[in-house]
Amino acid sequence: MRCPELACLALIVCLAGCERETRHFTADVPGPAYPGPRAQTGTVAGRAENPYARNAYAVNEGKRLFRWYNCNGCHAEGGGGMGVPLMDAEWRYGDRPVDVFTSIHDGRPDGMPAFGGRVTDDQIWRLAAYVRAIEGRVASATAPNRDDSLQEAKPETRRAGQ
């Protein structure tokens, strides 16, 4: 009796490993469609998962883009500055993946510029996955660790559960 259960467990672990390690070079992951401008939080679209939430490569890509697109200029390593801190548990506009996506895509009135159309939706999903990692809400095996820069905050792998 135990064997099938163990096998199932092993399979789940393996599949988790596979998804974590896949290199999604292209935008071929069927992510939820862009929920539309100013999507009302709490709608069906709002329940969508981030397709990259469990993919280490994509989350790491998000981290790269976070610096490439100057997100770090305002949000620093997550502590904020011109922009709000992303490390803390406070989410003014909601913390679901789709909320994060919408914040990046459409911007928010208190200063967050809109990046929709300037950053592909696929990259926004990657960024959104990373933004969750900043707070420590991506599994430690999937989240990026320190990068090769000056940094003081704990790496994303060790922010969970703080």
Binding site: R23, F25, A27, W68, G117, R118, V119, Q123, D148
Partner: protein, 336 residues
């Protein structure tokens, strides 16, 4: 000039026509290395031949035995002076040959280091995953310009390449001109070379740097000083405004869309630094660090599905409409 009789069979390009070949020098650095290479090869071949002859001689002259034959331990009692002599001579000859090579290597090292760099052209080379950025330095900072993947050099003038890496370790190798140098994060290096022969040479990253290491090449165009100056002046000019409506539409897409988030087109608001400078893209022969011919069709495919052509490249795939692709392509083709 071909250093190899095999060349014809191998279908390698002639020197200076996109060759990438350490056996044919187009500058003093590669030539000095070759000047060490051929004698070293000759000496080593001689050594190999000598050993094979000795082995052949030994096999031919030694006796034969069967499995059951008893072993001979008489050598334990005899000193075998003839063998001692032969082995000593062999070892002594090897040592002399090796010392000769050490000396020759040191002399070549010195020759390589002695390249006269007075009045050298300085180019800051920054290696990125997976492309090359070239910033032509100038004491007059307004004369500096940036280009990518195509390195133009004036023939006969020393060049000092200042090497930096943006992400991981890369290695710059233009075999026809000089040996390689690593570009190491945290350590700036220089590579000095000179092209004495006009032509087009291919260079490539030689240190594994990630998924598209294979497609991180560069084109070196060595040209007469006049042509080089003209090229540099063209490079310094900002991009001309597009004339056709289609290209103008493309420019709008470029500047307001995703392109301007990573690329620079000098003279326009697009001024991002994470991807090749496209100010004169249309003047370059190839795309994506020598991966693709710069043709209309490939450019159009590259714009929308770069990951199909160079999997893992950081340029994102995009669902452009056909008309957008045409407009963008039209715009990029104006960037001469």
């Amino acid at each position: 000039m071909s250093g190899l009789p095999l060349a014809a069979f191998l279908d390698t390009p002639p020197l200076g026509e996109l060759s990438q070949d350490a056996l044919r020098a187009a500058g003093p650095q590669a030539a000095a290395t070759l000047a060490l290479w051929w004698p070293t090869l000759a000496l080593c071949s001689a050594v190999l031949l000598g050993i094979l002859i000795a082995l052949g001689y030994a096999l031919a002259t030694s006796g034969r035995a069967v499995r059951s034959a008893p072993g001979d331990l008489s050598s334990l009692a005899n000193r075998e002076p003839g063998l001692v002599r032969a082995v000593s001579v062999g070892v002594a000859l090897s040592t002399v040959a090796l010392l000769g090579l050490v000396a020759a290597s040191a002399a070549t090292d010195r020759k390589l280091a002695s390249l006269d760099t007075a009045g050298a052209l300085q180019v800051h080379v920054i290696a990125h995953q997976w492309w090359w950025e070239f910033e032509y330095l100038d004491a007059d900072v307004t004369r500096r310009f940036v280009t990518a993947n195509e390195l133009h050099l004036p023939v006969g003038r020393a060049v000092e390449l200042v090497l930096d890496a943006d992400d991981v370790i890369h290695s710059l190798w233009i075999p026809n001109l000089a040996g390689k140098r690593d570009l190491i994060p945290g350590h700036t290096q220089t590579l000095r070379l000179r092209a004495d022969r006009a032509g087009v040479y291919r260079g490539q990253c030689a240190e594994y740097c990630g998924y598209q290491h294979a497609n991180m090449a560069l084109r070196v165009v060595a040209e007469e000083p006049g042509a080089f100056t003209a090229w540099a002046d063209r490079m310094r000019a900002p991009a001309a405004a597009p004339a056709t409506p289609l290209a103008q539409q493309g420019r709008a897409i470029f500047e307001n869309g995703t392109c301007a988030m990573c690329h620079t087109v000098s003279g326009t608001p697009a001024a991002a630094k994470h991807a090749p400078d496209l100010t004169h893209l249309a003047s370059r022969r190839r795309l994506a660090a020598e991966t693709l011919e710069n043709t209309h069709d490939l450019l159009a495919r590259w714009i929308s599905r770069p990951n199909a052509l160079k999997p893992g490249v950081y340029m994102p795939d995009q669902a452009y409409s056909e008309s957008d692709v045409q407009a963008l392509t039209a715009y990029l083709e104006t960037l001469k």
